[in-house]
């Protein structure tokens, strides 16, 4: 509806006068990218409302919110205090409206147990998780794309290696991979620290060392998936008529593989990487626990186990925002890669 009105406004502007074709295409592309971004952001609003109101609805549905949150062991005084702090003594929509009013001003409440503001917890722990995820994405893209493309083009031993790797990546959960890495590289070989995190500002080299094993554990599944998908996509593209015509035109193999086909494949790569990023966000819960990293994942799991609702709520909202942004970036990349996405 918004998108349509935008389109209508653009058409006479560009269709009437003789605009050079390139400028025309760029203008259309830009308006379409913009429309896509606006659409994603508009959809994000109801999504965030649904996700964040879920816990309020659930807690009030249990009938005894304070008791639910604190567990059976809490005293009536504690329960009453929590009921008051979270506003459980008020109707559920008032509670939510109250939370929302503070949330849009950057206040997500405070932990029930440490009283630390949730936003402070999140901002302290975010860099750890960000390092872990960015490192894992980097490893995933570099190794996954290399393995996928190379095994599609060459096949043979590397193809079988990619098969074995994809099976391993599928069957071995990140936390168990992490545990095995610790046994091998920390306990047996003493090459790397078993657990712990060193901030980058304190020592870049220690920071890197503390991330090697967690990043390896978190990226194995991503590397495996991406390698397999890239290989399949590459084989699909190489079977295309336009690739056959490139061969018939005498284009050298390296240009066919790495210049032409790779761009066709990159659409699938973007899709897989954006999906993997969501899986990695999930993986941080387990990997951070194994390596005792003070990131969002470990506090998320701990807060859920404790019943620290405001923290769980805050991280849920943050995760949702991250996924919305990842999808947004993926959308923009699609339109940059494939002119047909722009056209449709």
């Amino acid at each position: 509806m918004d998108a349509n009105s935008l389109a209508v406004r653009h058409r006479p502007l560009l269709g009437g006068a003789r605009v050079p074709l390139r400028a025309h295409a760029v203008a259309i592309a830009r308006s379409r990218v913009l429309r896509g971004v606006v659409r994603r952001l508009l959809l994000a609003v109801p999504l965030l409302i649904v996700v964040s109101s879920l816990s309020f609805a659930l807690v009030s549905a249990t009938g005894d919110p304070g008791r639910t949150v604190l567990g059976a062991g809490a005293t009536p005084q504690q329960v009453a205090a929590v009921d008051h702090q979270l506003g459980f003594d008020q109707p559920v929509y008032t509670q939510y409206w109250h939370w929302l009013g503070h949330a849009v001003h950057g206040d997500l409440g405070a932990s029930l147990f440490t009283q630390e503001p949730v936003t402070q917890t999140l901002s302290e722990r975010f860099p750890v998780t960000l390092s872990l995820i960015l490192g894992s994405i980097l490893v995933t893209v570099v190794i996954g794309v290399f393995l996928g493309v190379y095994s599609a083009v060459r096949g043979g031993v590397l193809g079988r290696f990619a098969d074995v790797l994809s099976l391993a990546g599928f069957a071995l959960p990140s936390f168990w991979v992490g545990a095995m890495l610790v046994v091998l590289f920390a306990v047996k070989l003493h090459w790397l620290p078993a657990i712990g995190y060193v901030p980058f500002a304190q020592s870049p080299s220690q920071w890197l060392r503390s991330l090697v094993l967690p990043v390896t554990a978190l990226s194995l599944a991503g590397v495996a998936t991406l390698a397999k998908q890239t290989r399949e996509a590459m084989l699909d593209v190489l079977a295309n008529e336009h690739v056959r015509m490139a061969w018939a035109n005498g284009i050298p193999p390296r240009l066919i593989y790495y210049r032409l086909a790779l761009k066709n494949v990159s659409l699938r790569i973007v899709t897989i990487v954006s999906l993997q990023l969501v899986y990695m966000l999930t993986g941080t819960l387990f990997v951070e626990q194994v390596f005792a990293l003070p990131g969002l994942g470990s506090i998320f799991a701990a807060s859920a186990a404790q019943g620290d609702l405001p923290v769980v709520q805050g991280i849920t909202v943050l995760f949702t925002v991250i996924i919305v942004l990842v999808n947004l970036v993926a959308d923009v990349l699609y339109t940059l890669i494939d002119p047909r996405v722009r056209a449709s």
């Binding site: 074709l21 390139r22 295409a25 959809l43 999504l47 996700v51 879920l54 816990s55 807690v59 639910t68 567990g71 099976l167 599928f170 069957a171 071995l172 959960p173 168990w176 545990a179 095995m180 306990v187 047996k188 078993a194 008529e241 336009h242 690739v243 056959r244 015509m245 490139a246 061969w247 018939a248 035109n249 005498g250 284009i251 050298p252 032409l260 761009k263 066709n264 969501v278 966000l281 999930t282 819960l285 387990f286 194994v290 998320f300 799991a301 859920a304 186990a305 019943g307 620290d308 609702l309 709520q313 849920t316 995760f319 949702t320 996924i323 999808n327 494939d338 002119p339 047909r340 056209a343």
Partner: protein
């Protein structure tokens, strides 16, 4: 009402045929050793989940074992050692199978209960139902599933049911989309249409006729989903969120191992390996079901022979000034098939002189395209030149090494295909792709290449070549795309252009323009053209000579005018007679009865005799040779004297 009574058994018969497919599917599955291993392992785990807690009632809630024997490796008393509280690992492993399997079952059931009806409805009904499911899928992909599960577990502490069902529900729409795609083609099938016309209700059709057909895909996705659910269950149990200690669970045992990893690394391995094998079993079982059901409708998997990299040596060929540009001598081409190589082109010979246009004519399936593709050795599906020579520019292309071949492709022999719209890479601008071709064949700067591209586009008579160069392929019409494809083929200034059905995909008016363009280019550049077509109108427009092919062989050869006037082979006669352009000449528009026999099942003797009105007993007895009844005319028919001009 009679219609209903008639249609119902028909539709039901078709559906029950597919129901009977499931035992067959099971049998095919059990023929795969890997699938049998997966099923066996999962049965053992499920058996343990049922039996172990009954046999070992005290294990699950055992607070501590022998505290003097904590963190032991494998011993005769404790086969898999003991954990950090001295409890037997093997016993806890067996008992711990129960919560794992229950958790997987809860998530799986929740997912199936939602996704199967949603997917079937979206695929079968389409319309707004389909849009709602699509919208739900988008939504579920934008939600962090793990976060919602954790919110549930915060509100309902230690409730595995709440956690796993939530997981199944959130992931259901994405699975529904897969079921929807499996349903779409079934909706179009005849017996479904018959059932619908006969007034059966949607619910009846979906449950009786559609559901059995999507059972295969549902088993596949269910199996793969179970693998994911198992990872989630052990992970959440590892975090201590769904199984309360001291209750035994695989995830909890891994957690115990990780907590004691420095003192006793052994503890993580038994539960970890059991878990990894279970995940793998679900995953590989899903793959096996998919392969087994694919086997049902396709032939046995073709194992392609490894491409032979023959030590190709460019053999020099003696040529003189009078030799033709291209000379194909006794060319035989085979394609691999499950039963060994099949000959698709047999002993084909013809010549093309400089600047000449030759047409390869025949129905589809006669080997025209394969013959043409052998000229640049781009055979489909690992095809091979099994015999003969292709002499071009003093070299035998059949034995040319790959790197020299690349110079021939595009540089000496160009190709335009029958599908101009897909012959350009959709992700790059037209000008960019043409410049790549120019720079492949000429050592020029980027700027010079760009200028050359504009020149090329102008030479194929495209108006405003600068604008066309800026476009993407999908922004071109079919005729424009074919002109661009021709421009690209000209980039290397080839001496021979192979035009494979260049006008088939185009509108009639555009066809004439493209043919005219090819004629002009042929004249201006003195470029030879090998035209592949089944359309005599196109042949007449462009070709000087024609080579008629049938079932892998050349059946007639000669200059175009006499060949058309007095065809000397019954196939040529029939082909000409069935051509709508020549309807004025022959009174009756006749189609040739039957079809071209497939390679591998060519008849004995003359390949055409089963369809030939002139065939006698002799025709089926021995191979027929090409004969030369007139000067520059050849025919592969022993009855040609009946057709000779009188």
């Amino acid at each position: 009402m009679t219609a209903v009574q008639n249609a119902e058994p028909l539709a039901d018969a078709a559906a029950s045929a597919s129901v009977f497919e499931s035992p067959r599917l099971l049998r095919r599955l059990l023929r795969r050793p890997l699938a049998v291993c997966c099923i066996a392992y999962l049965l053992v785990v499920i058996g343990a989940a049922i039996v172990a807690p009954i046999m070992l009632p005290n294990v699950s809630n055992e607070q501590a074992g022998d505290l003097l024997l904590v963190r032991q490796g494998p011993t005769s008393a404790h086969w898999l050692g003991t954990d950090s509280l001295g409890r037997d690992i093997l016993e806890r492993l067996l008992v711990g199978a129960r919560p794992t399997m229950i958790g997987v079952g809860e998530a799986l059931l929740a997912m199936l209960v939602l996704s199967v009806p949603l997917g079937l409805a979206a695929g079968y009904l389409g319309g707004w139902v389909d849009r709602v499911v699509g919208w739900l899928t988008d939504l579920s992909l934008a939600i962090p599933a793990i976060a919602i599960v954790l919110v549930m577990l915060t509100v309902f502490p230690q409730s595995m049911l709440a956690g796993m069902v939530t997981l199944g529900v959130i992931l259901a729409p994405a699975q529904a989309r897969i079921i929807r795609s499996a349903t779409l083609p079934i909706r179009e099938e005849l017996y479904i249409a018959a059932a619908r016309v006969s007034g059966l209700s949607h619910a009846h059709i979906i449950t009786r006729h559609v559901l059995p057909r999507v059972a295969g895909p549902v088993i596949v996705l269910g199996s793969l989903f179970a693998a994911g659910a198992l990872i989630a269950q052990t992970g959440l149990a590892y975090l201590g969120l769904i199984v309360k200690p001291p209750q035994a669970s695989w995830g909890g045992m891994i957690g115990d191992g990780i907590a004691n990893i420095v003192t006793q690394p052994w503890i993580i391995f038994p539960p970890g390996i059991v878990m990894a094998l279970a995940i793998m079993a679900f995953g590989l079982l899903g793959d096996a079901v998919r392969d087994a059901s694919a086997e049902g409708w396709s032939a046995a998997p073709v194992s392609l022979p490894r491409r032979r990299r023959a030590a190709a040596v460019a053999e020099p060929v003696v040529t003189d000034a009078a030799s033709p540009l291209l000379s194909v001598e006794n060319l035989t081409v085979t394609l691999p098939s499950p039963g060994g190589p099949v000959t698709v082109v047999e002993g084909v010979s013809f010549e093309i002189r400089s600047g000449e246009a030759v047409a390869l004519v025949g129905e589809s399936g006669c080997g025209k395209t394969v013959t043409a593709m052998s000229l640049i050795r781009l055979l489909p599906g690992d095809g091979e030149i099994a015999g003969g020579r292709i002499v071009f520019g003093g070299r035998n292309i059949a034995s040319l090494p790959e790197n020299e071949l690349r110079r021939v492709r595009g540089g000496e022999i160009g190709l335009i295909s029958q599908e101009p719209m897909v012959s350009l890479n959709p992700a790059f601008r037209v000008g960019w792709q043409l410049a790549m071709s120019v720079r492949t064949h000429h050592d020029v700067s980027r700027r010079a290449a760009r200028a050359r591209v504009i020149e090329l586009l102008r030479s194929v008579q495209l108006p405003e070549p600068e604008l066309v160069a800026q476009r993407y392929p999908h922004e071109l019409s079919g005729g424009m795309a074919q002109r661009v494809a021709i421009a690209r083929a000209l980039a290397g200034e080839p001496k021979l252009l192979i035009a494979d059905e260049p006008t088939t995909a185009l509108d009639v008016t555009v066809q004439a323009e493209i043919l005219e363009l090819l004629r002009d280019l042929q004249r201006e550049r003195e470029m030879a053209i090998l035209l592949i077509t089944h359309d005599w109108g196109v042949v007449a427009d462009l070709a000087d000579r024609a080579v008629v092919m049938y079932a892998g062989q050349v059946v007639e050869r000669g200059a175009l005018a006499p060949l058309v006037r007095h065809p000397l082979h019954p196939y040529t006669r029939a082909l000409l007679a069935s051509d709508p352009h020549s309807a004025a000449v022959t009174e009756v528009l006749s189609a040739i009865p039957g079809g071209v026999p497939r390679p591998g099942s060519w008849p004995q003797g003359c390949h055409f005799h089963p369809r030939c009105g002139y065939a006698t007993e002799v025709c089926s007895q021995q191979p027929i040779a090409l004969e030369q009844p007139l000067e520059n005319r050849e025919t592969r028919c022993i009855h040609y004297d009946q057709f000779l001009p009188r």
